[in-house]
């Protein structure tokens, strides 16, 4: 099944953080504890799917027919920024509980590389609308998985004897390298 294949590839085989280096800023900054990672992961999932739902029709029914493809970068990033702003307003007003939990991550999401990358790739991969949504969900779940893994590793490392010259961010990247190597084993998953 084509859609299952997209999910498997995006979550495991070609993980957006571990194999494609995208969304690293939030990966380093937002994995201080597992709860923070989960919050960020879900916020990213929500915004990515909504951004896909907004940008895919915008490209295929407005930009392409009018030969305005060169405005893709501007239009997509402004749509994402506006979406995030709207979501923030709506949550603040109507679901304060959720806003308290998720609200702080929202401004950071506008510059999250993963979201813009997904919206661009939906177009360049010639995906249908359904495929785009599935791709968006898959990439976000892969993001969530990598975040949770690193958060777990980080909490362990706080009590481990890390060599002095590797303390801080260097050891995080080495840990990521090891996690990535493990993930490369998934490449045999897709027949």
């Amino acid at each position: 099944m084509d859609l299952i294949k997209i999910l498997l590839i995006t979550i495991l085989v070609n993980n957006i953080i571990l194999m494609r280096f995208i969304a690293l800023c939030s990966y380093i900054g937002m994995t201080n504890d597992v709860g923070q990672s989960i919050g960020m992961g879900f916020a990213v999932t929500f915004v990515t799917v909504m951004a896909t739902a907004a940008t895919w029709p915008l490209y295929h029914f407005v930009l392409a027919p009018l030969h305005l493809e060169f405005l893709q970068i501007l239009v997509f990033i402004l749509v994402i920024a506006s979406l995030v702003q709207l979501v923030e307003f709506y949550l603040k007003k109507n679901i304060p509980g959720l806003y308290a939990a998720m609200g702080i991550y929202l401004p950071l999401i506008t510059t999250n590389c993963a979201i813009l990358a997904v919206t661009f790739e939906n177009i360049s991969n010639n995906y249908t609308f359904i495929q785009s949504i599935v791709y968006a969900v898959g990439v976000s779940l892969g993001y969530l998985l990598a975040m949770i893994l690193l958060a777990g590793v980080r909490s362990r490392m706080r009590t481990s004897p890390v060599p002095k010259f590797l303390q801080g961010t260097p050891i995080l990247f080495i840990a990521t390298s090891l996690i990535g190597m493990a993930f490369m084993g998934f490449s045999g998953l897709i027949k």
Partner: protein, 218 residues
Amino acid sequence: MKGNMKLGLVLAMFAAVGCASLAVVYSITESAIAAQSQKALNASLQEIFPDAVSFEDITATLSSNVQGVKFEQAFLVKSAQASLGVAVKATGSSYGGPAKLLVGVALNRSIAGVRVLELNDTAGLGMNAKNAAYYVKKAEKITFPGQFGGKFLTDPFEVKKDVVAITASTITSRSLTVIIKAAADAAATWLETSTTTAATPAEQAASASGAAGTTGGK
């Protein structure tokens, strides 16, 4: 509300200036961008059909019925005397992003050649499909796209059985094979149904007997 109106106006002005400047830059670079892809296409077309002299655009009459594979352009390739075959520029998705291939089909329904125009897979693994120095059959020095030359469309196309895959890049190999088969099938169908290149009875008999045909490929 007046404050918000002013903000909105400032925003709109910046947006308008931004879009206008982009439109200017686009109009300057548009022709250069088109020229670049045309250059690459012509070079590859000439490689697949060395005797080719003209390329008639038949894009409108060719469409893909394979999900995920789109045909950007299609050409009827002609030498000075006769038609040589059909070339299709097809796009589809591969492991790390979209892939663009040029597939040429000769009159005898065999593949004249395959060229990888664009590929975004892992360097050292899937990207070797585009690497002219990477051979899937080391003894004969055959590259991944090169192995399709001369292959008849009635032959099986299963990766790892009939098609040699790139080491540790089965997904890329499969994705590209799907695109190649879709393009080649569509080209062959076009050749069969088009009146200007309808196969002579001798050619039809040859292609019907498939792999055992006496017409040689490249």
